[in-house]
């Protein structure tokens, strides 16, 4: 048993931390979401530098220009990115599309899609959810019909994050309407400029801009099919496992928690430091415990991956705990802040640039990567063997 990194890994951690500290000063950090064009561009520029340093794809197999390190280094990278509050960009490409193309793509697809991702030049959005297919993703209605060497796409996708930044949309479409629910679905990569694709802006409450996406007889080349036809559901599930630790999310919350603890030690209210309030002390200690549990659960996933094991329930355990924990932290912090919790990023009076109010909104994201209910189902059914 060993809870520590190797010397080499520690060196990597220290290098990336130093790099990010220098390159991402506080005014450029994303306290929670990525709100502005400037934030986005800045985030991309950082990723390009990370790519130049060989770090961006450190968890990728060497044959695709990655590595040559494994899941532990990938996790160190993610944790550092989160703790450094680097504005998030390119994550769908790096964590989802890249691995899918590696595992299921043709040589041509690999050559076309992977290098731009690895150089932080390509941005992808994801077209999985639909208006009538949320947690029940298998019931999707979006159609892709083969017509010669093209596929004709029709339907609508919800929650297309990054739609207005992306060059590509990575999507699931029903290709065999007669097959059982999960067996008639295929994966595609579509250029967002394809005629027939349009986006309706769908701003999120965390300040970032997503879209609802409409496909009206949008024709894409059949060469954009990723993997086997009608096996898309299974491909998508398999590549979910690539970056499952959730360390980036954890670390960004940990950073805000650490800042908040510091704030409580230095801020007086009604003549007393916030940290002198025994209730605040007790609650923050409790949250510290929950945060540490979160960190450990994430690292357990990373460690399992490093041994070649496929975490499944374990990733849901980490995700579920994190979602609950983040909400508890932000609700508690809002209470400790009192009236200051009603301020957003007020130039004069906000504490921590409104980070607590912001992360409180972010914590309303109780459904990311499947709702918390779905994660509970995964844990119970796959992890504990309960009947469906």
């Amino acid at each position: 048993m060993n809870f520590e990194l190797t010397e080499e890994q520690k060196k990597f951690r220290s290098d990336i931390r130093s790099f990010l500290e220098e390159e991402v000063p506080p005014e450029h950090q994303a306290v929670f979401g990525v709100e502005s064009e400037e934030d986005y561009r800045f985030g991309r520029s950082i990723q390009r530098k990370l790519a130049d340093n060989g770090w961006l794809t450190i968890g990728w197999p060497t044959e695709y220009g990655g590595g040559p390190k494994g899941p532990i280094e990938q996790s160190i990278f993610s944790e550092a990115m989160g703790y450094g509050r680097v504005p998030r960009t390119g994550t769908t490409a790096l964590n989802i599309v890249g691995p899918a193309v590696m595992y299921f793509g043709t040589p041509e697809q690999k050559e076309k899609y992977l290098p731009p991702i690895a150089r932080a030049e390509a941005e992808y959005c994801q077209g999985f959810s639909e208006p009538n297919a949320g947690s029940d993703l298998g019931s999707l209605e979006f159609r892709a019909v083969r017509d010669g060497d093209e596929n004709v796409l029709n339907g609508s996708k919800m929650f297309t994050s990054w739609a207005f930044r992306a060059q590509y949309i990575y999507l699931l479409a029903r290709t065999d309407p007669d097959a059982p629910k999960h067996r008639g679905i295929s994966l595609f990569i579509a250029d967002v400029k394809t005629p027939g694709i349009s986006f309706r802006p769908l701003p999120y409450i965390n300040g970032s801009m997503a879209a609802q996406t409409y496909f009206d007889d949008a024709r894409i080349p059949s060469s954009a099919l990723i993997g086997e036809e009608n096996r898309g559901w299974y491909h998508a599930m398999a590549t979910l496992d690539f970056e499952r630790s959730g360390l980036e999310r954890y670390a960004s919350v940990q950073r805000t928690f650490d800042d908040f603890v510091e704030l409580c030690k230095t801020t007086k209210y009604n003549g007393k430091l916030l940290s002198e309030n025994p209730i605040a002390r007790h609650k923050l200690a409790k949250i510290k415990v929950g945060m540490e549990i979160w960190r450990l659960l994430c690292w357990k996933v990373a460690w399992m991956q490093s041994t070649g094991a496929v975490p499944n329930a374990e990733a849901s355990v980490a995700f579920l705990h994190g979602t609950v924990q983040r909400l508890e932290f932000t609700q508690t912090a809002m209470e400790i802040l009192g009236l200051y919790g009603t301020l957003m990023h007020d130039p004069k009076w906000s504490l921590m640039r409104g980070a607590i109010e912001g992360i409180h909104r972010e914590s309303m994201h109780l459904h990311g990567a499947g709702t918390t209910e779905i994660h509970r189902n995964i844990i119970a059914q796959r992890g504990l063997g309960l009947p469906r």
């Binding site: 959810s129 919800m158 009604n270 609700q331 009192g338 009236l339 004069k348 009076w349 209910e373």
Partner: protein
């Protein structure tokens, strides 16, 4: 024992609900968020006509002689509609303070104006280092001839930008006194704060603001008396507003759960959803009862400090629960700005913090229970 509203109160509630459903849909709420005023003067006028703005004032001051119970019932509807307006600060907090502490001239002059919606008064109490209950007030009022000269900065002052008067809590010789400051007086500087739900609260910087002695409400150094009573009253009203909002969130998730189908079934048939709804129902029912009990005791002139503390503490936790349940069940769509759930969530932050949050009231309650500090 009668734990229900009277027929007349039920009628008032129904009428208010119908009125607000017609006049204050969430589209209006969104418009008002983006407006400078943060409330609809047109709607404000109608509210005055309905008698809402002087609901609890005596008839002699243009009021409707309503009780706190009536007011809670009305604020359940206001909370349900998440109506943005200065009604709580102007007619309840300031109105009640003037009623409890003002002299006959002040009451006769101001209450009818408030009641008619012609005058808006807002309470300037909180400061940078002190919560709503004041702690040590740093804004100073110094006697100078027949005037007082006021200096210092107030924070979180709602609707100061549209208020005709600021009811300002200031330190005088030995303790706190209350002053009505005409908001157009020289030296009053009002800056909008960047707040959730674009709530119109402000920094109010007071620089050598000169106020005639006759604008003092209540006796010198004794402002805390009437203010405390008004805060008690308003806290119960605030609870009513929270209950109304939580009930609305419950209604919304229940309606959605009946029609949203996933895995071939309405999601309301899944225990995980169903149980969250059931638990929220428990919280809302409880919050409503404890709120009305506090209102009833205050109306009856019984000791009710414990009850008020319990009501606000529990309403706060019901409010957090409603937010979590709403966002959990609506899931993805509730994370979008265009969905209404965020409107209720954003306001939860203001209402939970306003007039003391759960922990503040639990701490008070601990004191009432006889625990040493």
């Amino acid at each position: 024992m009668d734990l229900g509203l009277s027929e007349q109160q039920e009628m008032l509630s129904r009428a208010a609900r119908e009125f607000l459903e017609a006049e204050c849909p969430t589209t209006l709420v969104r418009e008002l968020e983006d407006s400078d005023g943060g409330y609809s003067p047109e709607l404000w006028r109608k509210m005055a006509d309905l008698g809402w703005l002087g609901q609890a004032f005596p008839g002699q001051y243009g009021g409707s002689d309503g009780t706190l119970i009536d007011q809670v019932a009305l604020f359940e509807e206001i909370g349900r509609a998440i109506l943005p307006s200065p009604i709580l600060t102007s007619t309840v907090l300031c109105g009640q303070t003037i009623l409890y502490g003002g002299n006959e001239d002040q009451k006769a002059a101001l209450l009818p104006l408030i009641s008619r919606g012609d005058t808006i008064v807002t309470l300037a109490l909180a400061e940078a280092d002190a919560g709503f209950d004041g702690g040590d007030i740093s804004v100073m009022a110094t006697a100078d001839g027949g005037d007082y000269v006021i200096n210092g900065t107030k924070l979180f002052v709602p609707y100061a930008h549209v208020a005709d008067y600021l009811l300002c809590v200031a330190r005088t010789s030995g303790a706190d006194s209350l002053f009505l400051i005409d908001s157009k007086t020289a030296g009053v500087n009002i800056t909008l704060l960047h707040s959730v739900a674009k709530y119109k609260q402000h920094e109010v910087a007071l620089q050598n603001v000169r106020v005639p002695r006759t604008n003092m409400v209540g006796q010198l150094d004794q402002g805390r008396g009437p203010l405390g009573k008004a805060v008690d009253w308003a806290t119960v009203v605030q609870c009513g507003e929270i209950v109304g909002r939580c009930q609305k969130v419950l209604d919304l998730v229940v309606d959605y759960s009946k029609v949203r189908v996933q895995f071939g079934r309405p999601i309301g048939s899944f225990q995980a959803v169903l149980h969250q709804c059931a638990d929220l129902r428990v919280a809302v029912d409880g919050a409503r009862l404890v709120t009305y009990q506090a209102a009833w005791k205050l109306v009856e002139g019984r000791p009710c400090s414990e009850d008020i503390a319990m009501a606000k503490a529990f309403a706060g936790s019901a409010s957090r629960q409603a937010t979590a349940v709403g966002h959990g069940i609506f899931a993805g769509i509730a994370f979008t700005v265009e969905h209404d759930m965020q409107l209720y969530m954003m306001r939860s932050k203001i209402q939970e913090a306003n007039l003391g949050d759960s922990d503040f009231h639990l701490d008070n309650l601990g004191g009432y229970m006889g625990f040493p500090t």
